[in-house]
């Protein structure tokens, strides 16, 4: 790197090799994994809105889940998903899962197959829930789904035509769907359900996304979306609020220490700047 070599103490403080920051962060993140701290969390308004949007539906209402989740990002969202599936099944909603991202089917298979089995809640496939498989919908595909489900998913995940699935007999567009839960990983995708479901059909919609996408979802809450979950933090909140414990707790704990080395370097960077700016420790210039 063609950088000027730091000479003064303050310059050195502002030019510490980044690898020290990396190493310290790694060590500090591991500590709470080995020894959890068990601190409580505060539940935020959008999480309560998210929960209430499901809670106020009558049992038997139809909930569509646009599942655009990525395996690589699952640590950030798994707590949200597991809690959501449990809430839906506990309240006996009829659920339509449709996967819009390549890895989503694998995640859903793992969730429904081993972690939150619908059969444990008395659910029967085809009558209480369906899984429409994967199609890379994009925004245009989401619009098509709202108009004609069979146009984008002629068969379910297992190759059965939708007409042969009892639950789907009368359902072919948004009109029979009571709530959309839009799960996504690309922040601006929040605009898709807003444009294709909320604006044209005024469909109640809640979204589940990554922590970084919270700021992009916030402007739509509560006028266009009734609630949102962003990141594992809100995943932990929904676990706590719905009393469905899950993987969110460990995540929240390890964040506590993992962030400290960064905070230390933030302080060092500013002390370095101020030291250079005000020439601390150097003899004052005589005018």
């Amino acid at each position: 790197m063609s950088k000027k070599t730091p000479t003064t103490f303050w310059e050195k403080l502002g030019n510490i090799d980044y690898r020290w920051l990396y190493a310290l962060s790694l060590v500090f993140t591991i500590i709470p994994i080995l020894q959890p701290l068990g601190l409580p969390v505060q539940v935020s308004e959008p999480t309560i809105g998210y929960y209430n949007a499901i809670d106020k539906l009558k049992p038997g209402s139809v909930v569509a889940i646009s599942f655009g989740s990525s395996l690589a990002l699952l640590d950030e969202q798994e707590a949200q998903y597991l809690a959501t599936w449990k809430i839906l099944f506990q309240r006996h909603m009829k659920v339509i899962f449709y996967c819009t991202y390549a890895d989503s089917a694998l995640i859903l298979q793992k969730h429904l197959g081993t972690m939150v089995k619908p059969s444990d809640y008395g659910y029967k496939y085809g009558e209480d829930y369906v899984w429409l498989g994967y199609a890379p919908l994009g925004e245009a595909g989401e619009a098509s789904f709202a108009q004609n489900i069979r146009g984008v998913y002629p068969k379910d995940q297992f190759g059965t035509p939708l007409d042969q699935i009892p639950m789907m007999k009368d359902i072919n567009d948004q009109s029979k769907i009571d709530l959309l839960i839009f799960c996504y990983t690309s922040c601006t995708d929040v605009e898709w359900p807003v444009r294709q479901w909320v604006v044209p059909y005024k469909k109640p919609t809640i979204v589940a996304t990554l922590g970084c996408c919270g700021p992009m979802a916030a402007p739509y809450y509560p006028t266009q979306i009734q609630g949102f979950l962003s990141g594992s933090g809100m995943g932990t909140e929904i676990e706590v609020y719905s009393r469905n414990p899950g993987p969110g707790a460990l995540m929240s704990d390890a964040k506590n220490l993992g962030i400290l080395p960064f905070l230390l370097f933030f302080v060092l960077g500013n002390v370095s700047y101020l030291g250079k700016r005000f020439k601390w420790g150097q003899p004052k210039e005589v005018k």
Partner: protein, 214 residues
């Protein structure tokens, strides 16, 4: 009892996690092996998924009588003309279809979702807080409205940022900077979660359960 296949999966996964993390230290063969392996893996995954999608949604329905689906398949195949210089021009036709559809989707969605609704929300939120005499809400929504107006003015390119426009752009820049900071903060905590997820998987699943049988 841990199955061998699970243990192998755990070790393979751990190798790849270490491979990726090692790039932070410096370039090294473990990182490069992992990186090259993942190119091949994702390439195969991409091909499998899309060919399966084309087979189920076009080829099979076409064989079943929906002959119109031959058109998108043909357009897709025409894309490959790019590989041969003398016929590369043909690829512009399917490209044109893609861009045309994309542009249509974009225009229809942008008008209301990204412009009119954003302005509507700014107006309605402030109006509601004024009507309900919610002073905190009023101040907040007024600040949002000021943020919207001044941030838009920052993106003025036909006039220099001087005088009133300069002052407005300066205020807008402050709102924009806060927004950039807020976006950064949303991401850093998410990424920390990812780190925690992988480390806890290595410690709690691979080491404690698979290797130590705990």
């Amino acid at each position: 009892m841990v199955l061998f296949i699970d243990l192998l999966g755990g070790l393979v996964g751990t190798f790849f996690i270490i491979s990726v993390l090692s790039m932070l230290w410096k370039d090294n063969p473990i990182f490069r092996i992992g990186q090259q392996a993942i190119i091949g893996a994702t390439m195969a995954h991409y091909i499998l998924l899309n060919f399966k999608s084309a087979l189920n949604n076009a080829v099979l329905p076409m064989l079943g009588g929906n002959l119109l689906l031959f058109v998108p398949l043909l357009l897709g195949v025409l894309m490959y003309t790019r590989l041969k210089d003398n016929v590369a021009w043909i690829a512009r036709y399917p490209t044109g279809v893609l861009v045309g559809v994309g542009t249509g989707v974009m225009i229809a969605g942008t008008l209301r979702g990204q412009i009119i609704d954003q302005i509507k929300n700014t107006v309605l939120d402030l109006t509601k807080s004024v009507i309900s005499s919610n002073s905190t809400g009023m101040i907040n929504n007024l600040l949002i409205a000021i943020g919207v107006v001044t941030a838009i003015s920052f993106f003025t390119f036909t006039h220099e940022h001087k005088g009133v426009l300069g002052a407005s752009a300066k205020i807008g820049r402050i709102f924009l900077m806060i927004s950039l900071g807020a976006n950064w903060s949303g991401e850093i905590v998410w990424y920390l979660t990812q780190l925690i997820g992988r480390l806890s998987w290595i410690i709690n699943t691979v080491i404690k359960v698979m290797l130590l049988g705990g």
